[in-house]
């Protein structure tokens, strides 16, 4: 969906004001997931399938409530369950809604070689354009969250769109709409950040979760999906949420310095052989050496 332009700023030949222009100050959207009030009902999993027209996939049973081990090309929203043993020996059932994080600096986009296959809108949503995708899977290597998934039938890659089609029409994403406990929120990034921080403060001060905090990892410039965690010092416990996600350094090296070194080396090689020919010319066999 390339609908970001639907937010009209100017209209040609139009008398009077532009409806809606300048109404919004904040453009950057954000989804807030409060893991402390999630009950693992999976309503969001179903709503995601419904809205995006995806078929139900086979579930797997691994001694947990989790629907399947990880998200799939046609299953973009997965509650990750973890029976976490705390230091005092008590158990805590952690539930985290896993999906694309809509990174401010998306590793998928940095790695992708195809023109226009991944776009990032002004509002922060990172969206795959399967029309332009060539199916190379580089995005799977660039993403620090294991999100883009390859479809063997389409031979393209798919992931959560943050319901960009709904958001550009002023609706909230389908998962948000379906959540019965209100643990999912949707709004502008500053609003959601503020709400998340106040909830984390409440958890610290009133509920005895001394290390509660907000997950908005700085290593990738922040994300447009943020979490409230009971224990922000141990995100790994929440179904493998990376502690300090970054674009893999080899991907960065490959996409910038190596490109320049390589391109310069190729050009230097071509210039070198042309220069050699101009200066020294061909090696002629003896019978031709007489004629220049």
């Amino acid at each position: 969906m390339s609908q970001a332009t639907l937010e009209i700023r100017r209209i040609s030949g139009h008398a009077g004001s532009v409806p809606g222009a300048g109404l919004r100050r904040e453009f950057e959207v954000c989804k807030l997931i409060d893991t402390t009030t999630c009950i693992g009902c999976k309503a969001c999993e179903v709503a995601c399938l419904e809205w995006n027209g995806l078929t139900f996939s086979e579930t797997t049973f691994n001694n947990s409530y989790q629907t399947m081990p990880e998200t799939q090309w046609n299953y973009w929203n997965l509650i990750k369950f973890n029976e976490h043993e705390r230091d005092d020996g008590t158990l805590q059932l952690l539930m985290r809604k896993d999906q694309c994080m809509h990174c401010e600096e998306p590793g998928c986009l940095a790695a992708c070689p195809a023109d226009g296959a991944i776009v990032q809108y002004v509002n922060g949503i990172v969206d795959f354009q399967q029309d332009h995708c060539i199916g190379c899977g580089y995005c799977m290597t660039g993403c620090p969250f294991n999100i883009p998934k390859f479809s063997p039938t389409a031979r393209k890659v798919f992931k959560c769109t943050l319901c960009v089609d709904r958001v550009t029409q002023g609706l909230e994403p389908a998962c948000i709409k379906s959540c019965p406990t209100g643990c999912l929120h949707f709004g502008t990034k500053p609003e959601m950040k503020e709400l998340a921080e106040s909830r984390a403060a409440q958890l610290r001060e009133e509920s005895g979760f001394a290390t509660a905090g907000v997950y908005d990892p700085a290593g990738i410039g922040g994300t447009h999906v943020i979490y409230v965690l009971h224990d922000a010092t141990n995100p790994e416990a929440y179904g493998g949420l990376p502690n300090d996600p970054r674009i893999p350094w080899t991907v960065k090296l490959w996409k910038t310095p190596l490109k320049w070194i390589g391109n310069l080396a190729i050009v230097a090689g071509l210039v070198g052989v042309v220069g050699h020919y101009l200066r020294f010319g061909p090696k002629l066999p003896p019978e031709e050496e007489e004629r220049p």
Partner: protein
């Protein structure tokens, strides 16, 4: 007509039909790999993919062409590896490189069938081919590499282009030498034969060996 035979008209057969066929299978598949690979390498070269049927087609076929290339290099190994051992002459060749570059071929030690540069080209393509194959297989099937083994993917995205770049360096010099520089060597790889004078000038040790051998 087998390699290293003197033909009735006095010319010399440098490359047998089998050698030439294998060479051109490797050469054409490499050219395809190079042009499609460069399309993925840089957005400024993505238009190359359009020449070969678009990005999706190029992505599907590049790894298959890679297999063809690697198999051809394997055959080359069988054909030529035993002629590619570095000798004392090759070490002297590298010392005499400035003469070779300045086309002062009288000053260059007498090469056998392959000179020191050709041997480096051979081993360069051989080893780069192995690394390109290993990293290419990982790039080919990213969905099959589980998240816990993602470091292999991180390594492959850097190894594959680095070794591709090394082969590009070899390739530029190789094509230049085989076309513009030593014009008769292109003919020898197409039709197989070279003149006696060419052999005497550029591969004197090989030429002497042929002349001494009974035929």
């Amino acid at each position: 007509m087998s390699a290293s035979a003197v033909l009735p008209d006095g010319r010399i057969c440098r490359y047998s039909l089998r050698e030439r066929v294998v060479h051109w299978i490797a050469g054409i598949s490499y050219l395809y790999l190079l042009l499609t690979g460069l399309a993925f390498w840089s957005p400024w070269l993505f238009w190359l993919a359009t020449l070969f049927g678009g990005g999706t087609v190029s992505r599907e076929l590049h790894p298959w062409a890679g297999l063809v290339f690697v198999i051809a290099v394997g055959f080359m190994y069988g054909l030529w590896a035993n002629q590619m051992h570095t000798t004392q002459t090759d070490r002297e060749f590298w010392r005499a490189l400035p003469h070779y570059v300045r086309n002062e071929d009288e000053e260059v030690p007498p090469a056998d069938r392959f000179n020191g540069g050709q041997k480096v080209l051979f081993w360069g393509f051989f080893w780069c081919g192995i690394f390109l194959l290993l990293s290419g297989l990982i790039l080919w099937f990213p969905p099959l590499i589980p998240w816990s083994l993602r470091y292999f993917r991180y390594a492959a995205v850097i190894i594959h282009p680095v070794f591709a770049l090394l082969t590009i360096g070899l390739f530029i010099v190789h094509v230049y030498m085989g076309t513009a520089m030593e014009r008769d060597s292109f003919h020898s790889m197409v039709r197989g034969d070279v003149s006696a004078g060419w052999a005497r000038k550029f591969h004197p040790a090989w030429y002497d060996r042929l002349m001494r051998a009974p035929h």
